[in-house]
Protein backbone atom coordinates (compact mmCIF):
# COMPACT_ATOMS: atom_id res chain seq x y z
CA UNK A 1 0.00 0.00 0.00
CA UNK A 2 2.72 2.32 1.05
CA UNK A 3 4.73 1.71 -2.07
CA UNK A 4 1.71 2.44 -4.26
CA UNK A 5 1.37 5.74 -2.44
CA UNK A 6 5.06 6.42 -2.97
CA UNK A 7 4.70 5.58 -6.61
CA UNK A 8 1.92 8.11 -7.01
CA UNK A 9 3.71 10.76 -5.01
CA UNK A 10 6.91 10.44 -6.98
CA UNK A 11 4.78 10.40 -10.13
CA UNK A 12 3.19 13.67 -9.09
CA UNK A 13 6.59 15.15 -8.28
CA UNK A 14 7.78 14.12 -11.74
CA UNK A 15 4.77 15.68 -13.43
CA UNK A 16 5.39 19.03 -11.83
CA UNK A 17 9.13 19.23 -12.24
CA UNK A 18 10.96 20.26 -15.37
CA UNK A 19 12.60 23.02 -17.31
CA UNK A 20 11.31 26.55 -17.78
CA UNK A 21 9.98 25.51 -21.17
CA UNK A 22 8.08 22.70 -19.52
CA UNK A 23 6.54 25.07 -17.00
CA UNK A 24 5.55 27.38 -19.80
CA UNK A 25 3.82 24.44 -21.48
CA UNK A 26 2.01 23.56 -18.25
CA UNK A 27 1.05 27.22 -17.87
CA UNK A 28 -0.41 27.22 -21.36
CA UNK A 29 -2.44 24.11 -20.62
CA UNK A 30 -3.63 25.58 -17.32
CA UNK A 31 -4.76 28.72 -19.15
CA UNK A 32 -6.71 26.59 -21.61
CA UNK A 33 -8.32 24.71 -18.74
CA UNK A 34 -9.29 27.97 -17.04
CA UNK A 35 -10.89 29.18 -20.25
CA UNK A 36 -12.74 25.89 -20.41
CA UNK A 37 -13.92 26.16 -16.82
CA UNK A 38 -15.15 29.69 -17.47
CA UNK A 39 -17.00 28.61 -20.60
CA UNK A 40 -18.54 25.64 -18.87
CA UNK A 41 -19.67 27.73 -15.93
CA UNK A 42 -21.69 29.87 -18.36
CA UNK A 43 -23.09 26.82 -20.11
CA UNK A 44 -23.97 25.17 -16.82
CA UNK A 45 -25.85 28.22 -15.63
CA UNK A 46 -27.71 29.13 -18.79
CA UNK A 47 -28.15 25.73 -20.32
CA UNK A 48 -27.04 24.57 -23.74
CA UNK A 49 -28.54 27.73 -25.22
CA UNK A 50 -25.07 29.13 -24.60
CA UNK A 51 -23.81 26.89 -27.37
CA UNK A 52 -24.52 27.26 -31.06
CA UNK A 53 -26.60 24.10 -31.15
CA UNK A 54 -30.34 24.09 -31.72
CA UNK A 55 -33.09 21.58 -32.49
CA UNK A 56 -32.03 21.24 -36.10
CA UNK A 57 -28.33 20.70 -35.45
CA UNK A 58 -28.58 19.10 -32.04
CA UNK A 59 -25.00 17.86 -31.88
CA UNK A 60 -22.10 20.21 -32.48
CA UNK A 61 -18.39 20.33 -31.93
CA UNK A 62 -18.59 18.46 -28.61
CA UNK A 63 -19.83 15.25 -30.17
CA UNK A 64 -17.63 15.82 -33.22
CA UNK A 65 -14.57 15.98 -31.03
CA UNK A 66 -15.80 13.06 -28.98
CA UNK A 67 -15.90 10.89 -32.08
CA UNK A 68 -12.53 12.09 -33.29
CA UNK A 69 -10.78 11.47 -29.99
CA UNK A 70 -12.24 8.01 -29.66
CA UNK A 71 -10.46 7.38 -32.95
CA UNK A 72 -7.22 8.76 -31.58
CA UNK A 73 -7.62 6.56 -28.52
CA UNK A 74 -8.07 3.49 -30.68
CA UNK A 75 -5.37 4.41 -33.18
CA UNK A 76 -2.40 4.20 -30.86
CA UNK A 77 -3.17 0.81 -29.42
CA UNK A 78 -4.14 -0.79 -32.70
CA UNK A 79 -0.48 -0.39 -33.63
CA UNK A 80 0.31 -3.44 -31.55
CA UNK A 81 -0.79 -5.57 -34.46
CA UNK A 82 1.76 -4.29 -36.97
CA UNK A 83 4.23 -4.52 -34.12
CA UNK A 84 3.57 -8.26 -34.07
CA UNK A 85 3.66 -8.61 -37.79
CA UNK A 86 6.91 -6.69 -38.19
CA UNK A 87 8.42 -8.21 -35.04
CA UNK A 88 9.86 -4.82 -34.21
CA UNK A 89 11.60 -4.52 -30.87
CA UNK A 90 10.98 -0.85 -30.41
CA UNK A 91 7.32 -1.20 -31.00
CA UNK A 92 6.75 -1.96 -27.35
CA UNK A 93 7.52 1.68 -26.73
CA UNK A 94 4.89 2.55 -29.26
CA UNK A 95 2.42 0.40 -27.40
CA UNK A 96 3.02 2.00 -24.03
CA UNK A 97 2.94 5.47 -25.49
CA UNK A 98 -0.12 4.50 -27.48
CA UNK A 99 -1.78 3.44 -24.26
CA UNK A 100 -0.89 6.73 -22.61
CA UNK A 101 -2.30 8.49 -25.64
CA UNK A 102 -5.39 6.31 -25.42
CA UNK A 103 -5.97 7.32 -21.82
CA UNK A 104 -5.59 11.02 -22.60
CA UNK A 105 -7.80 10.80 -25.68
CA UNK A 106 -10.44 8.84 -23.80
CA UNK A 107 -10.45 11.34 -20.97
CA UNK A 108 -11.10 14.02 -23.59
CA UNK A 109 -13.76 11.96 -25.33
CA UNK A 110 -15.63 11.30 -22.09
CA UNK A 111 -15.35 14.93 -21.05
CA UNK A 112 -16.78 15.99 -24.40
CA UNK A 113 -19.78 13.74 -23.85
CA UNK A 114 -20.30 15.11 -20.37
CA UNK A 115 -20.00 18.67 -21.66
CA UNK A 116 -22.67 17.87 -24.23
CA UNK A 117 -25.22 16.57 -21.70
CA UNK A 118 -28.13 18.82 -20.87
CA UNK A 119 -28.44 17.32 -17.40
CA UNK A 120 -24.90 16.38 -16.53
CA UNK A 121 -25.80 16.01 -12.84
CA UNK A 122 -28.33 13.35 -13.76
CA UNK A 123 -25.84 11.14 -15.59
CA UNK A 124 -26.09 8.65 -12.73
CA UNK A 125 -29.43 7.61 -14.23
CA UNK A 126 -27.40 5.58 -16.66
CA UNK A 127 -25.45 3.65 -14.06
CA UNK A 128 -26.50 0.01 -13.74
CA UNK A 129 -27.95 -0.70 -10.33
CA UNK A 130 -29.00 2.75 -9.19
CA UNK A 131 -30.19 3.86 -12.62
CA UNK A 132 -31.68 2.27 -15.67
CA UNK A 133 -29.09 1.09 -18.15
CA UNK A 134 -30.89 0.70 -21.45
CA UNK A 135 -28.66 -2.12 -22.62
CA UNK A 136 -28.36 -3.63 -25.18
CA UNK A 137 -30.85 -1.57 -27.21
CA UNK A 138 -29.18 1.79 -26.94
CA UNK A 139 -25.86 2.09 -28.75
CA UNK A 140 -24.91 4.81 -26.32
CA UNK A 141 -24.87 2.28 -23.48
CA UNK A 142 -22.53 0.11 -25.54
CA UNK A 143 -20.31 3.09 -25.97
CA UNK A 144 -20.33 3.77 -22.24
CA UNK A 145 -19.34 0.16 -21.59
CA UNK A 146 -16.57 -0.06 -24.14
CA UNK A 147 -15.10 3.37 -23.47
CA UNK A 148 -14.93 2.94 -19.72
CA UNK A 149 -13.67 -0.60 -20.08
CA UNK A 150 -11.01 0.61 -22.45
CA UNK A 151 -10.05 3.41 -20.12
CA UNK A 152 -9.71 1.00 -17.23
CA UNK A 153 -7.68 -1.39 -19.35
CA UNK A 154 -5.32 1.28 -20.59
CA UNK A 155 -4.86 2.73 -17.16
CA UNK A 156 -4.25 -0.65 -15.57
CA UNK A 157 -1.70 -2.06 -18.02
CA UNK A 158 0.83 0.80 -18.01
CA UNK A 159 0.22 1.42 -14.30
CA UNK A 160 1.05 -2.20 -13.51
CA UNK A 161 4.11 -2.27 -15.73
CA UNK A 162 5.44 1.06 -14.56
CA UNK A 163 4.73 0.22 -10.94
CA UNK A 164 6.70 -3.00 -11.23
CA UNK A 165 9.47 -1.20 -12.97
CA UNK A 166 9.46 1.49 -10.34
CA UNK A 167 9.91 -1.12 -7.65
CA UNK A 168 12.65 -2.77 -9.61
CA UNK A 169 10.54 -5.87 -10.18
CA UNK A 170 9.86 -7.52 -13.49
CA UNK A 171 6.27 -7.23 -14.62
CA UNK A 172 4.76 -10.73 -14.95
CA UNK A 173 4.07 -11.36 -18.60
CA UNK A 174 1.32 -13.82 -17.86
CA UNK A 175 -0.56 -11.11 -16.08
CA UNK A 176 -0.35 -8.24 -18.47
CA UNK A 177 0.09 -9.72 -21.94
CA UNK A 178 -3.46 -11.11 -22.13
CA UNK A 179 -4.70 -7.66 -21.24
CA UNK A 180 -2.56 -6.07 -23.93
CA UNK A 181 -4.11 -8.44 -26.47
CA UNK A 182 -7.55 -7.72 -25.10
CA UNK A 183 -6.91 -4.01 -25.30
CA UNK A 184 -6.01 -4.33 -28.99
CA UNK A 185 -9.31 -5.96 -29.81
CA UNK A 186 -11.03 -3.54 -27.52
CA UNK A 187 -9.50 -0.67 -29.49
CA UNK A 188 -11.26 -1.92 -32.61
CA UNK A 189 -14.37 -2.28 -30.48
CA UNK A 190 -14.47 1.27 -29.21
CA UNK A 191 -14.09 2.74 -32.63
CA UNK A 192 -16.56 0.45 -34.30
CA UNK A 193 -19.11 0.96 -31.55
CA UNK A 194 -18.65 4.70 -31.78
CA UNK A 195 -19.16 4.48 -35.53
CA UNK A 196 -22.27 2.38 -34.93
CA UNK A 197 -23.55 5.14 -32.71
CA UNK A 198 -24.02 7.09 -35.92
CA UNK A 199 -24.61 4.17 -38.27
CA UNK A 200 -27.53 3.02 -36.13
CA UNK A 201 -29.40 6.22 -36.96
CA UNK A 202 -31.13 4.50 -39.84
CA UNK A 203 -33.02 7.61 -40.83
CA UNK A 204 -29.84 9.54 -41.49
CA UNK A 205 -28.59 8.69 -44.93
CA UNK A 206 -25.32 10.47 -44.29
CA UNK A 207 -24.38 8.35 -41.29
CA UNK A 208 -26.15 5.11 -41.98
CA UNK A 209 -23.48 3.72 -44.24
CA UNK A 210 -21.86 0.35 -43.81
CA UNK A 211 -18.49 1.80 -44.74
CA UNK A 212 -18.54 4.28 -41.88
CA UNK A 213 -17.10 1.81 -39.35
CA UNK A 214 -14.17 0.78 -41.57
CA UNK A 215 -13.63 4.42 -42.47
CA UNK A 216 -13.40 5.23 -38.79
CA UNK A 217 -10.80 2.50 -38.32
CA UNK A 218 -8.74 3.66 -41.28
CA UNK A 219 -8.74 7.25 -40.16
CA UNK A 220 -7.90 6.15 -36.63
CA UNK A 221 -4.97 4.16 -37.99
CA UNK A 222 -3.85 7.35 -39.69
CA UNK A 223 -4.49 9.96 -37.03
CA UNK A 224 -3.22 7.84 -34.11
CA UNK A 225 0.24 7.10 -35.56
CA UNK A 226 0.47 10.63 -36.94
CA UNK A 227 0.07 11.99 -33.44
CA UNK A 228 2.48 9.39 -32.03
CA UNK A 229 5.13 10.38 -34.57
CA UNK A 230 4.74 14.01 -33.55
CA UNK A 231 4.97 13.02 -29.88
CA UNK A 232 8.07 10.92 -30.58
CA UNK A 233 9.81 13.79 -32.26
CA UNK A 234 8.96 16.02 -29.30
CA UNK A 235 10.22 13.38 -26.83
CA UNK A 236 13.42 13.00 -28.79
CA UNK A 237 14.07 16.69 -28.59
CA UNK A 238 12.90 17.27 -25.05
CA UNK A 239 14.31 14.26 -23.22
CA UNK A 240 17.15 11.83 -23.18
CA UNK A 241 14.81 9.01 -24.04
CA UNK A 242 15.94 7.12 -27.14
CA UNK A 243 13.57 6.36 -29.95
CA UNK A 244 15.18 5.02 -33.09
CA UNK A 245 14.59 6.39 -36.57
CA UNK A 246 13.60 2.92 -37.60
CA UNK A 247 10.62 2.90 -35.24
CA UNK A 248 9.39 6.21 -36.57
CA UNK A 249 9.86 5.08 -40.16
CA UNK A 250 7.90 1.93 -39.60
CA UNK A 251 5.17 3.89 -37.90
CA UNK A 252 5.11 6.23 -40.87
CA UNK A 253 4.70 3.30 -43.21
CA UNK A 254 1.76 1.93 -41.24
CA UNK A 255 0.29 5.40 -41.31
CA UNK A 256 0.81 5.62 -45.05
CA UNK A 257 -1.15 2.45 -45.76
CA UNK A 258 -3.91 3.51 -43.42
CA UNK A 259 -4.06 6.89 -45.13
CA UNK A 260 -4.43 5.12 -48.49
CA UNK A 261 -7.25 2.99 -47.16
CA UNK A 262 -8.87 6.05 -45.67
CA UNK A 263 -8.72 7.93 -48.96
CA UNK A 264 -10.04 4.96 -50.94
CA UNK A 265 -13.03 4.69 -48.64
CA UNK A 266 -13.58 8.43 -48.62
CA UNK A 267 -13.69 8.43 -52.40
CA UNK A 268 -16.01 5.40 -52.50
CA UNK A 269 -18.35 7.32 -50.28
CA UNK A 270 -18.04 10.44 -52.40
CA UNK A 271 -18.83 8.47 -55.54
CA UNK A 272 -21.96 7.03 -54.00
CA UNK A 273 -23.05 10.43 -52.82
CA UNK A 274 -22.49 12.28 -56.05
CA UNK A 275 -23.20 9.94 -58.94
CA UNK A 276 -26.90 10.26 -58.43
CA UNK A 277 -28.41 13.31 -56.74
CA UNK A 278 -31.06 11.78 -54.53
CA UNK A 279 -32.64 13.36 -51.51
CA UNK A 280 -30.35 11.18 -49.43
CA UNK A 281 -27.23 12.84 -50.76
CA UNK A 282 -28.29 16.32 -49.70
CA UNK A 283 -25.98 16.14 -46.66
CA UNK A 284 -22.94 15.42 -48.80
CA UNK A 285 -23.92 18.12 -51.26
CA UNK A 286 -24.22 20.53 -48.36
CA UNK A 287 -20.83 19.46 -47.03
CA UNK A 288 -18.92 19.74 -50.28
CA UNK A 289 -20.77 22.35 -52.28
CA UNK A 290 -23.28 24.00 -49.98
CA UNK A 291 -27.05 23.92 -50.32
CA UNK A 292 -29.36 26.81 -51.15
CA UNK A 293 -26.69 29.37 -50.46
CA UNK A 294 -25.62 27.83 -47.16
CA UNK A 295 -22.00 26.74 -47.18
CA UNK A 296 -20.41 27.36 -43.79
CA UNK A 297 -18.46 24.09 -43.74
CA UNK A 298 -17.50 23.92 -47.43
CA UNK A 299 -14.12 25.67 -47.10
CA UNK A 300 -13.17 23.45 -44.16
CA UNK A 301 -13.93 20.17 -45.86
CA UNK A 302 -12.13 21.14 -49.06
CA UNK A 303 -9.03 22.23 -47.21
CA UNK A 304 -9.24 18.98 -45.26
CA UNK A 305 -9.52 16.82 -48.37
CA UNK A 306 -6.81 18.71 -50.24
CA UNK A 307 -4.38 18.65 -47.33
CA UNK A 308 -5.20 15.00 -46.68
CA UNK A 309 -4.34 14.08 -50.27
CA UNK A 310 -1.21 16.25 -50.31
CA UNK A 311 0.12 14.90 -47.02
CA UNK A 312 -0.58 11.33 -48.12
CA UNK A 313 1.25 12.00 -51.38
CA UNK A 314 4.20 13.43 -49.48
CA UNK A 315 4.59 10.46 -47.20
CA UNK A 316 4.23 8.09 -50.15
CA UNK A 317 7.78 8.84 -51.20
CA UNK A 318 10.24 6.97 -49.08
CA UNK A 319 12.89 9.67 -49.11
CA UNK A 320 10.43 12.31 -48.04
CA UNK A 321 8.85 10.00 -45.48
CA UNK A 322 12.17 9.24 -43.86
CA UNK A 323 13.12 12.89 -43.75
CA UNK A 324 11.70 13.97 -40.42
CA UNK A 325 11.67 17.61 -41.40
CA UNK A 326 8.99 16.60 -43.90
CA UNK A 327 7.38 13.76 -41.99
CA UNK A 328 6.49 15.65 -38.82
CA UNK A 329 4.73 18.54 -40.57
CA UNK A 330 3.01 16.03 -42.86
CA UNK A 331 1.80 14.15 -39.79
CA UNK A 332 0.47 17.35 -38.27
CA UNK A 333 -1.34 18.19 -41.51
CA UNK A 334 -2.77 14.70 -41.75
CA UNK A 335 -3.90 14.80 -38.15
CA UNK A 336 -5.57 18.16 -38.68
CA UNK A 337 -7.19 17.04 -41.92
CA UNK A 338 -8.72 14.00 -40.25
CA UNK A 339 -9.78 16.09 -37.31
CA UNK A 340 -11.76 18.34 -39.65
CA UNK A 341 -13.06 15.42 -41.71
CA UNK A 342 -14.17 13.33 -38.74
CA UNK A 343 -15.27 16.18 -36.58
CA UNK A 344 -16.75 18.98 -38.57
CA UNK A 345 -17.37 16.96 -41.70
CA UNK A 346 -19.19 14.00 -40.21
CA UNK A 347 -21.47 14.99 -37.38
CA UNK A 348 -22.66 18.45 -38.34
CA UNK A 349 -23.62 17.87 -42.02
CA UNK A 350 -25.62 14.87 -40.81
CA UNK A 351 -28.09 17.40 -39.43
CA UNK A 352 -28.08 19.70 -42.46
CA UNK A 353 -30.60 19.47 -44.01
CA UNK A 354 -32.63 18.33 -41.02
CA UNK A 355 -34.81 15.23 -41.03
CA UNK A 356 -37.58 17.16 -42.75
CA UNK A 357 -35.28 18.89 -45.20
CA UNK A 358 -34.89 22.23 -43.49
CA UNK A 359 -31.53 23.93 -43.68
CA UNK A 360 -30.47 25.69 -40.50
CA UNK A 361 -26.75 26.13 -40.13
CA UNK A 362 -24.63 25.80 -37.03
CA UNK A 363 -21.79 27.92 -35.79
CA UNK A 364 -20.13 27.18 -32.47
CA UNK A 365 -20.24 29.97 -29.91
CA UNK A 366 -17.30 31.20 -27.86
CA UNK A 367 -18.59 29.25 -24.89
CA UNK A 368 -18.40 26.06 -26.92
CA UNK A 369 -14.96 26.89 -28.24
CA UNK A 370 -13.68 27.72 -24.75
CA UNK A 371 -15.01 24.47 -23.34
CA UNK A 372 -13.49 22.55 -26.25
CA UNK A 373 -10.13 24.21 -25.73
CA UNK A 374 -10.36 23.55 -22.01
CA UNK A 375 -11.01 19.87 -22.56
CA UNK A 376 -8.17 19.63 -25.07
CA UNK A 377 -5.96 21.43 -22.55
CA UNK A 378 -6.90 18.89 -19.90
CA UNK A 379 -6.30 16.04 -22.30
CA UNK A 380 -2.89 17.35 -23.25
CA UNK A 381 -2.08 17.75 -19.59
CA UNK A 382 -3.07 14.14 -18.96
CA UNK A 383 -0.93 13.06 -21.88
CA UNK A 384 2.02 15.14 -20.71
CA UNK A 385 1.78 13.75 -17.20
CA UNK A 386 1.51 10.13 -18.34
CA UNK A 387 4.39 10.45 -20.81
CA UNK A 388 6.53 12.23 -18.30
CA UNK A 389 6.10 9.52 -15.68
CA UNK A 390 6.59 6.88 -18.33
CA UNK A 391 9.84 8.40 -19.60
CA UNK A 392 11.24 8.98 -16.12
CA UNK A 393 10.52 5.46 -15.05
CA UNK A 394 11.74 4.19 -18.38
CA UNK A 395 15.03 6.10 -18.26
CA UNK A 396 15.53 4.98 -14.68
CA UNK A 397 15.30 8.49 -13.33
CA UNK A 398 12.93 7.43 -10.57
CA UNK A 399 13.91 3.81 -10.32
CA UNK A 400 17.03 1.78 -9.76
CA UNK A 401 17.01 -0.85 -12.46
CA UNK A 402 16.77 -0.39 -16.20
CA UNK A 403 15.83 -2.54 -19.15
CA UNK A 404 12.09 -2.17 -19.09
CA UNK A 405 11.67 -1.87 -22.82
CA UNK A 406 13.55 -5.11 -23.33
CA UNK A 407 11.13 -6.91 -21.05
CA UNK A 408 8.23 -5.64 -22.98
CA UNK A 409 9.84 -6.80 -26.19
CA UNK A 410 10.54 -10.18 -24.73
CA UNK A 411 6.95 -10.48 -23.66
CA UNK A 412 5.70 -9.68 -27.10
CA UNK A 413 8.19 -12.02 -28.71
CA UNK A 414 7.32 -14.85 -26.41
CA UNK A 415 3.65 -14.43 -27.18
CA UNK A 416 4.42 -14.38 -30.84
CA UNK A 417 6.25 -17.68 -30.69
CA UNK A 418 3.57 -19.55 -28.81
Amino acid sequence: MRSILNFFISGLVVVFSGSVKYYLWLGLLLTLMLFGAYGYSIQFKEGLVATGMHDHVSWGIYISNFIFFVGVAAGGVMLVIPAYIMKDKDFSKVVLIGEGLAVAALVMALMFVLADLGGVMRFWHMLPGIGYFHFPESMLTWDVLVLNGYLALNLAIPAYILYCRYNGREPVKKIYVPFVILSVFWAFGIHLVTAFLLVSVAANSFWSSAILGPRFLASAFTAGPALIIVIFSIIRQASAYKISDDTINKLAMVMMFAAYANLVMLFSEIFKEFYWNSEHTAHARYLFFGLDGHHAVTPFIWSSVVSNVLATLLISFRRLRENHAVLVPACLVLFGAIWVEKGLGLVIPGFIPSQLGEIVEYLPTFVEIFVTLGIIGFGLFTLTALLKVFIWVETGAISSKGGFAEQMDAAIKKKDQT
Binding site: D55, P128, F133
Partner: protein, 196 residues
Amino acid sequence: MLKNSFIAGLACLVLAGCSKEPEPTYSDPLEQSENDRQELIAEHRAQPVEIPGYGHVYVEGPETKRKNCARCHKPELEPYRAESLPPGKDAHWDISIHHAGDMDCFSCHKKEDPNQLVSVIDKNATLETSYLHCGSCHKDQFKSWLGGAHGKRLTGWNGVRIIRNCSECHNPHAPERPKVIPIAQPTVTPERAKRH
Protein backbone atom coordinates in the same frame (compact mmCIF):
# COMPACT_ATOMS: atom_id res chain seq x y z
CA MET B 1 -7.24 -18.34 -15.65
CA LEU B 2 -7.10 -14.63 -15.19
CA LYS B 3 -8.35 -14.03 -18.68
CA ASN B 4 -11.25 -16.38 -18.11
CA SER B 5 -12.27 -14.76 -14.89
CA PHE B 6 -11.97 -11.38 -16.53
CA ILE B 7 -14.29 -12.43 -19.31
CA ALA B 8 -16.68 -13.99 -16.81
CA GLY B 9 -16.64 -10.78 -14.81
CA LEU B 10 -17.34 -8.80 -17.94
CA ALA B 11 -20.25 -11.04 -18.81
CA CYS B 12 -21.66 -10.55 -15.31
CA LEU B 13 -21.33 -6.80 -15.66
CA VAL B 14 -23.13 -6.83 -18.98
CA LEU B 15 -25.92 -9.05 -17.66
CA ALA B 16 -26.30 -6.93 -14.55
CA GLY B 17 -26.37 -3.83 -16.68
CA CYS B 18 -29.15 -5.21 -18.81
CA SER B 19 -32.03 -3.38 -17.15
CA LYS B 20 -35.34 -5.17 -17.38
CA GLU B 21 -38.19 -3.46 -19.16
CA PRO B 22 -40.64 -2.31 -16.43
CA GLU B 23 -44.17 -3.67 -16.55
CA PRO B 24 -46.69 -1.21 -17.96
CA THR B 25 -49.58 -0.04 -15.79
CA TYR B 26 -53.17 0.38 -16.92
CA SER B 27 -56.05 2.52 -15.74
CA ASP B 28 -59.68 1.44 -15.80
CA PRO B 29 -61.42 1.37 -19.17
CA LEU B 30 -62.72 4.71 -20.28
CA GLU B 31 -66.50 4.82 -20.31
CA GLN B 32 -68.72 7.79 -20.83
CA SER B 33 -71.58 8.00 -18.36
CA GLU B 34 -75.10 8.40 -19.74
CA ASN B 35 -75.24 11.70 -17.90
CA ASP B 36 -72.14 13.08 -19.64
CA ARG B 37 -73.50 11.84 -22.91
CA GLN B 38 -76.80 13.60 -22.48
CA GLU B 39 -75.03 16.77 -21.36
CA LEU B 40 -72.92 16.83 -24.50
CA ILE B 41 -75.94 16.21 -26.70
CA ALA B 42 -77.81 19.04 -25.03
CA GLU B 43 -74.83 21.37 -25.21
CA HIS B 44 -74.57 20.93 -28.95
CA ARG B 45 -78.36 20.85 -29.54
CA ALA B 46 -77.54 17.61 -31.31
CA GLN B 47 -79.94 15.35 -33.18
CA PRO B 48 -79.27 11.80 -34.34
CA VAL B 49 -78.38 11.52 -38.02
CA GLU B 50 -81.47 10.55 -39.99
CA ILE B 51 -79.83 7.79 -41.94
CA PRO B 52 -80.54 4.15 -41.23
CA GLY B 53 -77.62 2.59 -39.38
CA TYR B 54 -76.21 5.93 -38.24
CA GLY B 55 -78.52 6.58 -35.34
CA HIS B 56 -75.59 6.68 -32.93
CA VAL B 57 -74.04 9.66 -34.72
CA TYR B 58 -75.33 13.08 -33.75
CA VAL B 59 -75.32 16.28 -35.75
CA GLU B 60 -74.88 19.63 -34.09
CA GLY B 61 -78.07 21.63 -34.27
CA PRO B 62 -78.22 25.08 -35.87
CA GLU B 63 -78.43 28.14 -33.73
CA THR B 64 -81.98 29.29 -33.09
CA LYS B 65 -81.94 32.43 -35.19
CA ARG B 66 -81.48 30.50 -38.39
CA LYS B 67 -84.25 28.02 -37.70
CA ASN B 68 -86.99 30.57 -38.00
CA CYS B 69 -87.56 31.10 -41.70
CA ALA B 70 -91.20 30.82 -40.81
CA ARG B 71 -91.01 34.02 -38.84
CA CYS B 72 -91.15 36.02 -42.07
CA HIS B 73 -92.34 33.39 -44.51
CA LYS B 74 -95.93 33.30 -43.33
CA PRO B 75 -98.88 33.34 -45.74
CA GLU B 76 -100.39 36.31 -43.91
CA LEU B 77 -97.25 38.39 -44.46
CA GLU B 78 -97.13 37.65 -48.20
CA PRO B 79 -98.97 40.88 -49.25
CA TYR B 80 -96.35 43.05 -47.50
CA ARG B 81 -93.34 41.33 -48.92
CA ALA B 82 -92.76 43.61 -51.90
CA GLU B 83 -92.99 46.71 -49.70
CA SER B 84 -90.43 45.43 -47.26
CA LEU B 85 -87.70 45.25 -49.89
CA PRO B 86 -85.42 48.13 -50.83
CA PRO B 87 -86.30 49.57 -54.23
CA GLY B 88 -85.11 47.46 -57.11
CA LYS B 89 -83.96 44.56 -54.94
CA ASP B 90 -85.19 41.01 -54.79
CA ALA B 91 -85.73 39.04 -51.64
CA HIS B 92 -82.50 38.15 -49.85
CA TRP B 93 -80.67 40.51 -52.17
CA ASP B 94 -77.71 40.49 -49.80
CA ILE B 95 -77.06 36.84 -50.50
CA SER B 96 -75.05 36.16 -53.61
CA ILE B 97 -74.86 32.59 -54.75
CA HIS B 98 -71.55 31.07 -55.78
CA HIS B 99 -72.54 27.49 -55.85
CA ALA B 100 -72.23 25.18 -58.83
CA GLY B 101 -72.64 27.84 -61.49
CA ASP B 102 -76.27 28.62 -62.25
CA MET B 103 -78.12 27.86 -59.06
CA ASP B 104 -80.73 30.16 -57.63
CA CYS B 105 -82.62 30.26 -54.32
CA PHE B 106 -85.16 27.74 -55.44
CA SER B 107 -82.63 25.20 -56.56
CA CYS B 108 -82.50 24.32 -52.90
CA HIS B 109 -85.25 26.10 -50.99
CA LYS B 110 -88.91 25.23 -51.39
CA LYS B 111 -90.84 28.26 -52.53
CA GLU B 112 -93.75 27.58 -50.21
CA ASP B 113 -91.63 26.79 -47.15
CA PRO B 114 -87.98 27.91 -47.32
CA ASN B 115 -87.26 25.84 -44.22
CA GLN B 116 -87.79 22.81 -46.42
CA LEU B 117 -85.14 21.92 -48.94
CA VAL B 118 -85.76 20.68 -52.45
CA SER B 119 -83.59 17.70 -52.96
CA VAL B 120 -82.92 15.41 -55.86
CA ILE B 121 -83.37 12.31 -53.80
CA ASP B 122 -84.64 13.04 -50.36
CA LYS B 123 -87.63 15.33 -50.50
CA ASN B 124 -87.92 15.74 -46.75
CA ALA B 125 -84.68 17.53 -45.91
CA THR B 126 -85.02 20.56 -43.67
CA LEU B 127 -82.43 23.10 -42.58
CA GLU B 128 -81.69 20.87 -39.57
CA THR B 129 -81.11 17.87 -41.79
CA SER B 130 -79.48 19.84 -44.59
CA TYR B 131 -76.72 17.22 -44.78
CA LEU B 132 -79.23 15.01 -46.56
CA HIS B 133 -79.77 17.72 -49.09
CA CYS B 134 -76.03 18.44 -49.58
CA GLY B 135 -75.35 14.74 -49.78
CA SER B 136 -77.75 14.24 -52.64
CA CYS B 137 -75.19 15.85 -54.96
CA HIS B 138 -71.92 15.64 -53.00
CA LYS B 139 -72.03 11.92 -52.55
CA ASP B 140 -68.35 11.32 -51.89
CA GLN B 141 -68.13 14.06 -49.30
CA PHE B 142 -71.31 12.78 -47.70
CA LYS B 143 -69.94 9.30 -47.42
CA SER B 144 -66.69 10.61 -45.94
CA TRP B 145 -68.60 12.84 -43.57
CA LEU B 146 -70.61 9.93 -42.22
CA GLY B 147 -67.51 7.79 -41.95
CA GLY B 148 -65.42 10.46 -40.28
CA ALA B 149 -62.93 11.48 -42.96
CA HIS B 150 -64.67 14.75 -43.79
CA GLY B 151 -66.05 17.30 -41.39
CA LYS B 152 -65.35 17.95 -37.78
CA ARG B 153 -66.09 15.94 -34.69
CA LEU B 154 -67.02 18.19 -31.82
CA THR B 155 -66.66 15.68 -29.02
CA GLY B 156 -63.57 13.84 -27.87
CA TRP B 157 -62.45 10.61 -29.48
CA ASN B 158 -64.26 8.57 -26.84
CA GLY B 159 -68.00 8.47 -26.22
CA VAL B 160 -70.84 9.99 -28.17
CA ARG B 161 -69.92 11.21 -31.64
CA ILE B 162 -71.33 14.65 -32.40
CA ILE B 163 -70.33 16.11 -35.74
CA ARG B 164 -70.80 19.43 -37.48
CA ASN B 165 -73.41 19.89 -40.11
CA CYS B 166 -72.15 20.82 -43.61
CA SER B 167 -73.39 24.38 -43.42
CA GLU B 168 -71.42 25.11 -40.26
CA CYS B 169 -68.17 25.03 -42.20
CA HIS B 170 -69.39 25.78 -45.71
CA ASN B 171 -71.63 28.73 -46.43
CA PRO B 172 -74.26 26.94 -48.53
CA HIS B 173 -74.58 29.98 -50.79
CA ALA B 174 -70.84 30.12 -51.42
CA PRO B 175 -69.43 26.84 -50.19
CA GLU B 176 -65.81 27.43 -51.01
CA ARG B 177 -64.04 28.33 -47.81
CA PRO B 178 -62.54 31.81 -47.69
CA LYS B 179 -58.80 32.33 -47.51
CA VAL B 180 -57.29 32.85 -44.07
CA ILE B 181 -54.30 34.71 -42.75
CA PRO B 182 -52.23 32.14 -40.89
CA ILE B 183 -50.90 32.65 -37.41
CA ALA B 184 -47.20 33.54 -37.58
CA GLN B 185 -44.87 30.57 -37.71
CA PRO B 186 -43.14 30.20 -34.36
CA THR B 187 -39.79 29.47 -35.94
CA VAL B 188 -36.98 28.38 -33.76
CA THR B 189 -34.21 30.08 -35.62
CA PRO B 190 -30.89 30.11 -33.85
CA GLU B 191 -31.14 33.85 -33.27
CA ARG B 192 -34.49 33.65 -31.55
CA ALA B 193 -33.57 30.70 -29.46
CA LYS B 194 -30.41 32.40 -28.28
CA ARG B 195 -30.08 34.62 -25.28
CA HIS B 196 -32.55 37.44 -25.35
